[in-house]
Symmetry: C2
Subunit: 96 residues, 2 copies
Amino acid sequence: MFKDLDPLLHSQLRLSIMSLLVSVESADFNYLLDETGATKGNISVQINKLKDAKYIEVKKTFKNNYPHTVCKVTKTGINAFERYVEAISGYLNNKK
Amino acid sequence: MFKDLDPLLHSQLRLSIMSLLVSVESADFNYLLDETGATKGNISVQINKLKDAKYIEVKKTFKNNYPHTVCKVTKTGINAFERYVEAISGYLNNKK
DNA sequence: TAAACTAGTTTATATTATAAACCAAATATA
DNA sequence: TATATTTGGTTTATAATATAAACTAGTTTA
């Protein structure tokens, strides 16, 4: 009846991050900070989990002497996101 | 940007239960057991959380000498479910 | 050179989700 | 008529999560 929901995506902040990344294709730490309104610590942790799962790629460089973290969704991540959208849709459209 | 997701509904099993209840209007323990595929313990716990939040009403009676637990969604529960659907939709339709 | 700021990471804690273990009563079986 | 099994759950234990607070390392400003 109900498809399982990928636990990695079934998290408000990680879902926010992925939702942003699938639409912009590349975003830095501060963009995610602004758009999600989450704390830096939380974002840092969730970026690493998404990276470990290969849902995103993370590049660390320097920009104006400051560290600069840029995230990009992978094909794996897009697929997972699309599967998640399909799965959770099955919970939402109750056929009343 | 992203609306907060009601933590009580942002749980696979509780969302399954609510999704079933909003469409059938009344379901017993075994129906939820069959439809969700979850364990009895888990269902018991989640029913109580939904009841505590007044998202559902629970009536315990006896049927053929056995205990019989029947759940019914409340207006509060329907509202919460509808708000959840609206909120999570904002995460899913990325405007690519 | 000290204070404040940037850009994060690590750690601690509280909450969750979940299954395993348990329970009482009813029924089936030997 | 014991006793084993089944029904319909609840309680408890544990592992995983989400999150914020505290911390780090370096830069800029006064």
